[in-house]
Symmetry: C2
Subunit: 206 residues, 2 copies
């Protein structure tokens, strides 16, 4: 069945399935070995395809990586976006901490993908860091300063407050191996939320 004369055909089911499989495989491999440490062959095998077959869907290794990174960047900033200037300040900030911790729990690979990229100097997302990311953070810092001025939360450095939320929550995804090695049998996330809630409550309450 042909629908119209449009030259751009819609994706077949098999194409969709393969693209999804490739993205999932690429996330797994890139998040573990970083861009340079990963090979197209690894990704193809992980996706259940041959190397040339994978390259039928994506033009190059870099293309897969870039698409993955840019697609995930939006999702990654959602939790911060959701922080509401009109909500109850301490609740809003602790809610943000919770959402970030949930991301570490449910999407550790995505976290490690970004961690690898940034530790290695962020060659692919430098622009976004000092562009859209900085802009979003700066906006939220205005809100935090307002909360401080209104006496709703303690007087802390807004940017460093946000850095501390990032580092504390992402640590459980990025350094998962270390955390689990040190904890032994205890599950990290069993007590992380309680600890972080306690920490930010004590830090922020006036």
């Amino acid at each position: 069945m042909s629908f119209g004369s449009k030259p751009e055909r819609p994706e077949t089911r098999i194409q969709q399935r393969n693209r999804v499989a490739i993205r999932a495989a690429a996330l797994k491999v890139f998040s573990t070995f970083g861009y340079r440490g990963s090979t197209v062959d690894q990704i193809a095998t992980e996706a259940g395809l041959s190397k040339p077959n994978l390259l039928y869907y994506f033009p190059s290794k870099e293309a897969i990586y870039r698409e993955l990174l840019e697609t995930l960047l939006e999702t990654w900033l959602d939790p911060l976006n959701e922080m509401d200037a009109d909500g109850e300040p301490v609740e809003e900030l602790i809610g943000y901490v919770r959402r970030k911790l949930d991301m570490s729990r449910n999407f550790p690979r995505e976290s490690r993908l970004f961690a690898n990229e940034i530790i290695q100097g962020a060659p692919q997302i430098e622009t976004e860091l000092s562009g859209s990311l900085k802009q979003l953070v700066d906006e939220k810092c205005v809100v935090i300063r307002k909360w401080i001025a209104e006496g709703k939360i303690a007087d802390v450095h807004p940017h460093h407050l946000i850095f501390s939320i990032w580092s504390l929550t992402q640590h459980y995804a990025d350094f998962d191996v270390q955390v689990r090695a040190v904890l032994g049998k205890e599950d990290p996330f069993d007590n992380a939320e309680t600890y972080l809630t306690q920490l930010f409550t004590r830090l922020l309450r006036v």
Copy 2:
């Protein structure tokens, strides 16, 4: 001048200089690209040597990496080792935070070397993580629990307290690019120490 008949000759000045240069170059390259993303050629060039010449000093790429990692592991745990069970608890813990932050400021490459290794699953130092590292941390957690029982600091989860010190301080080294991109002109370390001191004071005081 020959001293005795010992077959193992001491290193010449030139050998010492080259070994030092190789270690420095390897630290720079490995900390930026991770083990798999780094090449011997890069390290050799950075050290001002040819590739075969570098391999005259070290048998393989892995040998350089392993030596580097194991040598630095001790140094890396010094700040925690120095924490004194008989000192004033809040001071001791905040002192530990300060020393870790100083490491991030003065040895960011070492921090990123470990970060890369651990994010990528710690294939080379798994044993140390659940061995000597876990042991040291567990010992210090006993001390922390004692301080809590004595009412000297607030009741917090000892392991997560240590994780939070690691993540908050190392973040400034590992995610340096992101931190600077977001802060703009402001130097991260200008306010990090004040912020972290404030954070841990509020968290720990009874």
